[in-house]
Amino acid sequence: MEETKGRIRKMMIILSKATLENVYAAFVLANGARMEGIEAEMFFTFFGLEAIHKKKLEHLHVATVGNPAMHMPTMLGGLPGMEALATSMMKKEMEKIDMPDVHEFLEILKASGVKLWACKLAMDMFHYQREDLIDDLDGVLTVGDFYHQGSGEGTHMLFV
């Protein structure tokens, strides 16, 4: 704190979920850091890996069950087609506010200098190979490697 006078120098953002609202939250935080001249690195673990999985990243959904902010009865949220409906509504709203889709957002993050890392343990668990994940990935790391990436003053970590 003394050395950086409280200035945030780097954001380390861990994404562990694949629901659209969580993926976007993590992406906006990482991109927003770069826009302010703050370094940013992302660690994709557990279901978060789907956001960088070539075949899955374009099919992420909004959660309609167990999400009180949807303002619909849980039973209704579980009906077939409900997630798809909520997702398409959310995507329309996002386009209106100039929010890119997941694929384009990843390209923006990469072009902005955000480092993208996959979690080795989660990859092993889901039996993902490196080639299943986007080409822009900076590498596959252990949690220890990721902490090492965040060493130095003024680094903050966020878990989504």
Binding site: V28, N31, G32, R34, M35, E36, G37, D98, M99, P100, E104, I108, A111, S112, G113
Partner: protein, 102 residues
């Protein structure tokens, strides 16, 4: 508040963004760039010109929009204005700070 730059008095807000674009000229732009440790090249000027024309057309600026402009891609934008490109470029261009999260 008033600020003297390139031998001219300009009005800026508390963050250093110009509040009256009519006071901007290339010499002011050069001096504001020097304050941000940036030496302006022809590429910088092309980008600054694009930002100013978008501002004049009341287009809200975002990193995504700049990247899709055909003037500069996001990677080069960050290379030209390394720290906080949209904010830094807007400040040099004499236009308000873009209120964008993307």
């Amino acid at each position: 508040m008033d600020k003297t730059i390139a031998g001219k008095t300009i009005r800026v807000n508390e963050e250093g963004f110009m509040t009256d674009f009519s006071q901007w000229d290339k010499a002011v732009g050069e001096s504001l760039a020097a304050e941000a440790n940036i030496t302006l090249t022809p590429r910088h000027w092309e980008v600054l010109g694009y930002l100013q024309s978008e501002y004049k057309n009341n287009v809200a600026l975002s990193i995504r929009k700049v990247g899709k402009s055909g003037v500069v891609d996001i990677k080069e934008f960050y290379a030209l204005f390394p720290t906080a490109p949209l904010k830094t470029a807007a400040k040099i261009a004499g236009i308000p700070k873009p209120a964008s999260c993307i």
